[in-house]
Symmetry: C2
Subunit: 163 residues, 2 copies
């Protein structure tokens, strides 16, 4: 009736926890946590994003993110800026987050290892299977997204590109 080993949220949690734990060990000597890495990865995706965008992209709470960016600023890996008005209507409430040179360097240094771990996780998967699982995970995410929308929950992280 309720078979844990074929229950999807369980499988997701197990697989996700394992990869997260393994990569946390990689990050440790660099003095950053997995959550910090998620912010750096989001900035690599697009530098100069606003706090809200980063929260959405990473599924990190805005209040958590705010203190996380404090910590990353203390480590001189990122910096906050108030967007200037040139070239368009700047919202003075907004804050954008930018790599420092050191932050970009560290991120570029870690990306190959991050990709290595993805490769390890996908060991034995064919190219077709790799594409398949990524596509299925994306669909799964969007299904939950629609549920949030239906419930009018102001869900965090609703804007992952539809592809």
């Amino acid at each position: 009736m309720f078979d844990l080993a074929s229950y999807l949220p369980y499988l997701l949690n197990r697989a996700g926890t394992r990869i997260a734990d393994a990569f946390t060990e990689v990050l440790r000597p660099h003095g950053i946590t997995l959550t910090m890495w998620r912010v750096l990865a989001a900035l690599d995706h697009e530098d100069g994003q606003r706090m809200g965008q980063i929260a959405t992209l990473t599924s990190i709470e805005v209040s958590t993110l705010s203190r996380l960016v404090d910590a990353l600023e203390r480590k001189k890996l990122v910096e906050r800026r108030r967007p200037t008005a040139r070239g368009g209507g700047a919202d003075a409430r907004a804050v954008t987050v930018h790599f420092t040179a050191a932050g970009r360097r560290l991120t570029q240094q870690l990306i190959p290892t991050a990709l290595d771990y993805e490769t390890i996780a996908l060991d034995g998967f064919s190219a077709a299977e790799t594409r398949q699982i990524k596509a299925l995970l994306l669909r799964l995410f969007h299904n939950m997204d629609r549920l949030d929308a239906a419930e009018r929950t102001p869900a965090r992280g609703r804007t992952l590109a539809a592809e």
Copy 2:
């Protein structure tokens, strides 16, 4: 080069977070957290497991689990027992965790909703795709498992049935 939207750990984290957040809302009125639910689900899988087994199955730290079981006992949902010697060599260090009647009742009540959420997440997936993503997640888990074994890390949660 580093495309976040096709980076597997990111997709896993996003999909997992979404399902977890949604089900946490379901659990809230019942006064239990998602982590508590994982313990109840593990007990439904097999009642009377030892602390170590439950930690392994749920990927919850033993020390976290110990206080979690304290809380579940206070809620009268589970109870600890020291295994008795009859029928085999009982280890007096061990502690087993068992449903109370109320705990079993609550779990049975929540399982259909849990399955509903799985159905929502898999909305639009064919039976073949459903089987596929579960099989792929299981393989992914075992790949990380082998990595832990190779590094001789005393990983938590290494014993998910191989199927």
